[in-house]
């Protein structure tokens, strides 16, 4: 007997179900196929190549009229089913037609999710789901502007497709990196770079606030930081929701999707469902591979055969020309999981395998995906990889590998990469000199001047020697930054500048880091280098800082903290002292100590009390003394000429001015200053990082002193006549130190390496350079001279509290 099958939705899933069914039999079923779209089944996945102009709609039709005719399918395209009546086993079409069914198959797919921002219903705000959306995007002309909300698979394919047509596209993504569901940060970084190269503007961590319109038509997207992005079309590609409305009204069991069992049968035995509209075992679906598996089960179930749908691992590829990207399985860190990471900066390749119990459970590849199906096979089959673990990452064709080359990162640099910043010497010049016979550092210095000035690029020049000469070069080796990289601190610093690396991900990738996100040794250093070189572009990462700098207080051996408010130039007032005393009482501070830096230390404050005690001190006008920071600590002064019979200049005033200019700046190590009013030197200025001794004729500026583990007198940088000159020179010195020193080198160590003469050239002799240094310092201060105490009280006081207190709950 011929049975009546009604199918709702002519999508990719139901289409495959019909195909499979007809392979077995066309005779048993009388099929009626409804579709809301005015066409039959086409390859929705290939809309992106259509958008990019690589294919036409005709190329992507899966079932044409002839196919439907051949299998006797009654097509009702452009018609929606309006209602399902389970009791009478009938469906009603939009136009009121009522049809009987023996079996009903729901394949309604999903609806694009539209964020309900103000203005989301304006003309010109579209999703990316069907041919109509695609055609709308194809109508954009070169030079027109489009904003795409969503940096996932769909959003990026939409963006790349339109960019290929010369449209100016901006992608706005709420998360920190692109395609965060499929990619880890490193691959997200590479992808972003490739898209930016295609002329697409990519904004991550960007929150949309409102869609602005004019005469009912979209005009711009407003972000919550106030940025306005003008646009002629706005495409929202932020996710999909299973299309369950019809099933829900019919009273079928529905969660996120329509509930189905392993046979793809819904809570009604005569109704099956398939595709993105279903929920199976708590899971909903957004890629075709599992839908096609479901479709086969649907056909079997309809034929009364035994079959069960099993969920499998999924893999994703992005269909954007030039972005080879693959991700599969589960690649999050997890208990007992280990990573194997491979990076080849020269080719822009990144590969990461996640291993658990000798099996590959996840993989992310960027740049070279040629072996991805082999790896995907390992994941799906759960192959034991213990035997091939060491060479696994090199893929199936691996034949006895070579050890990783420590000069790889330098070898990967482009010929025009600047190696020596002082003398503007690039890689190719140095390599040419070496090839022409300059066989050691001295010879390279003599012929190219590279590393002949401040010397911080010495490591890079040596690596170039090693890589150009091979075994013939025997260089002295400075230690690598840590186990995560073979490069030295100074190599990393140089390359961050010359390669314009502006994010941690850029450093990990371009410099071939061996770990995923560094370690406690390299991350604080890299974070510092990035913020010092790119104060505007790079954002400081507190999670890459030692706890003292993350919590802006000094951790004690018992886990409490010390709090030291600033006392400008060591001056205080009765009001400040009262506020400190009150705070000490209020928070039961066990120890109050007068420090060696002319201020007062409150020791033993509980971590939870920090925001509150800061707020109290802030109220009395005091800010953080940064007594915990690799930054400016104190400026000690003596009472100077206002009071002292020997005083020559206003040492207190100059000290306060200096502290007010320099506070809040992050430096490679802590920096301490002092200003004494005469050569008796009561403020101990001659053993500071920077010390000023006032004399009748002006100011003697000394630098590079020490009085900690080493004791060393300052060296004279210059004698100047005015306060202004002293201020300027000291800021220039600070900035030169900030830009060039190795992390955790105090100024005296750094000056010993680069030589005082070179420092003098920059900050004393060359007025242009001095001015530029002062300007760069001011720029950095415009970002970083903020009281972190006030900021944390306002923005993250909550994070100082326990996430939960179960002792209270137990008592309740």
């Amino acid at each position: 007997m011929v049975k009546k099958l009604v199918v709702i939705g002519a999508g990719m899933a139901s289409g495959r179900a019909l195909e499979t069914l007809f392979k077995e039999t066309s005779e048993d079923w009388d099929v009626t196929l409804f579709n809301a779209e005015p066409r039959g089944n086409y390859d929705r996945i290939m809309l992106s190549p259509v958008l990019a102009g690589d294919k036409t709609y005709q190329d992507i039709v899966i079932h044409d009229d002839a196919w439907y005719a051949e299998h006797g399918v009654t097509c009702r395209f452009g018609e929606k089913v309006a209602e399902i009546n389970r009791e009478t086993k009938q469906v009603m079409a939009e136009n009121g037609d009522v049809l009987d069914y023996d079996k009903l198959l729901i394949g309604t797919g999903s609806n694009p999710f539209m964020i309900p921002l103000p203005g989301h219903d304006l003309e010109g705000v579209i999703a990316y789901r069907d041919l109509e959306d695609t055609e709308r995007m194809m109508s954009m002309q070169p030079g027109q502007k489009v904003v795409v909300i969503g940096g996932g698979l769909l959003g990026l394919e939409a963006a790349a497709g339109m960019a290929a047509r010369g449209v100016e596209v901006t992608v706005v993504h709420i998360m920190g990196h692109l395609m965060e569901r499929q990619l880890d940060e490193a691959a997200g970084y590479l992808l972003r770079k490739a898209l930016v190269d295609k002329g697409i503007t990519v904004m991550c961590s960007a929150n949309s606030k409102e869609i602005l319109g004019e005469n009912g038509k979209v005009k711009a997207l407003l972000l919550d930081d106030g940025t306005e992005l003008p646009c002629d079309l706005l495409c929202m590609a932020v996710g999909i929701r299973p299309n369950v409305a019809l099933a829900k009204e019919a009273g079928l069991a529905v969660g996120r999707g329509i509930h189905v069992d392993d046979q793809m049968v819904t809570s009604d035995p005569d109704i099956l469902a398939v595709g993105e509209c279903v929920e199976h075992d708590g899971q909903v679906f957004g890629l075709v591979a599992p839908l096609y598996d479901q479709a086969k089960i649907v056909a079997k179930t309809l034929q009364g055969e035994e079959a069960a749908f099993v969920q499998k691992s999924l893999s994703t590829k992005l269909k954007v020309t030039g972005c080879d990207l693959f991700s599969a399985g589960d690649f999050a860190d997890g208990e007992g999981r280990e990573d194997i990471v491979f990076r080849d900066p020269a080719r822009g390749v990144y590969k990461r395998l996640v291993i658990e119990e000798n099996k590959v459970v996840g993989a992310v590849f960027y740049g070279d995906t040629s072996d991805s199906s082999w790896f995907f096979g390992l994941i799906k089959d759960g192959t034991d990889i213990a035997e091939m673990r060491e060479t696994l990452i090199f893929g199936p064709n691996f034949q006895g590998g070579e050890p990783l080359d420590p000069t790889a990162a330098v070898a990967a640099l482009p010929p025009d990469a600047e190696i020596c910043g002082c003398n503007g010497v690039c890689k190719s010049e140095i390599v040419e000199a070496i090839e022409a016979g300059a066989g050691d550092l001295g010879a390279v210095r003599a012929t190219t001047k590279a590393s002949a000035s401040c010397g911080t690029c010495t490591g890079l020049v040596e690596q170039l020697l090693a890589f150009t000469l091979g075994d013939a070069f025997d260089g002295s080796k400075e230690a690598a930054i840590c186990g995560c990289s073979d490069l030295t601190h100074m190599d990393v610093r140089r390359l961050i500048k010359s390669q314009e690396l502006k994010s941690q991900q850029a450093v990990w990738q371009e410099l071939g880091w061996k770990t995923k996100d560094g370690c406690h040794v390299c991350r604080p250093a890299v974070n510092y280098y990035l913020l010092a070189d790119w104060p505007v572009e790079y954002e400081d990462d507190p999670q890459s800082r030692f706890i003292n700098e993350r919590k802006h207080a000094n951790i004690q051996k018992d886990g409490t903290y010390s709090v030291v408010p600033r006392m400008w130039g060591g001056m205080t007032t009765p009001d400040e002292l009262r506020a400190i005393a009150d705070a000490a009482d209020k928070y039961s501070v066990p120890t109050v100590h007068v420090t060696g830096g002319q201020r007062i230390d409150l020791l033993g404050v509980k971590g939870e009390d920090l925001p509150a005690i800061w707020a109290d001190l802030n109220k009395a006008g005091m800010v953080s003394g940064h007594a915990y920071a690799k930054g400016l600590r104190t400026v000690k002064t003596c009472v100077g000429k206002d009071h002292c019979r020997f005083g020559t200049q206003d040492s207190t005033g100059l000290g306060i001015q200096l502290e007010k200019k320099l506070w809040g700046s992050w430096t490679p190590h802590k920096v301490k200053l002092a200003v004494s009013g005469c050569p008796r030197n009561c403020a101990e200025a001659t053993c500071k990082d920077i010390g000023v001794v006032c004399v009748d004729s002006g100011y003697q500026i000394g630098v590079a002193g020490a009085a900690g583990m080493d004791v060393k007198e300052t060296e004279r940088l210059a004698d100047v006549a005015t306060e202004e000159e002293a201020m300027e020179m000291i800021q220039a010195f600070m900035q030169l130190y900030r830009e060039n020193a190795k992390y955790l080198d105090r100024p005296y160590k750094w000056v010993a390496k680069v030589g005082l003469d070179w420092v003098k050239e920059q900050v004393v002799d060359d007025l242009e350079t001095r001015k530029a240094l002062v300007e760069r310092f001011a720029l950095s201060q415009s970002v970083y001279q903020k009281d972190p105490w006030a900021q944390h009280v306002e923005e993250k006081a909550e994070s100082y509290q326990p996430i939960a207190n179960l002792t209270l709950e137990a008592a309740e």
């Binding site: 920190g176 999050a332 770990t515 370690c519 406690h520 996430i803």
Partner: protein
């Protein structure tokens, strides 16, 4: 039998960060890695009691803030030359919430 209790939102912890959870038997450090995995460890370092929740998180490891011992958060084992182990507790994330096994937390003192 395990009974999972909700101790807070995943977003309440910075990626590569931690918060402490106070229990009747002392503090537990709840970590979130750069890739949104969570781990729960005894907060006190076996070396000299440093608060691990204040350490730098890298990969699935954490470095104690007091003297830089490094622990694998999955096993609680000290890495490299240092010898020691901190207790780990079952924890998972569901729908953006962090869940911990109450039974385990209560058994802490016995463990």
């Amino acid at each position: 039998m395990s009974s999972w209790i909700d101790v807070g939102a995943l977003d309440a912890i910075q990626p590569r960060g931690a918060r402490v959870l106070k229990t009747a038997f002392g503090c537990v450090a709840v970590f979130r890695t750069g890739e949104d995995e969570v781990y729960a460890l005894e907060n006190s370092c076996p070396h000299k009691g440093g608060p691990l929740s204040e350490g730098i998180v890298h990969g699935s490891k954490v470095t104690c803030p007091l003297h830089n011992w490094v622990f694998d958060m999955a096993t609680g084992q000290a890495q490299g030359a240092d010898d020691g182990r901190v207790a780990t507790y079952p924890v998972r994330v569901e729908a953006g919430r962090i869940l911990m096994d109450a039974a385990f937390l209560q058994n802490r003192s016995a463990a």
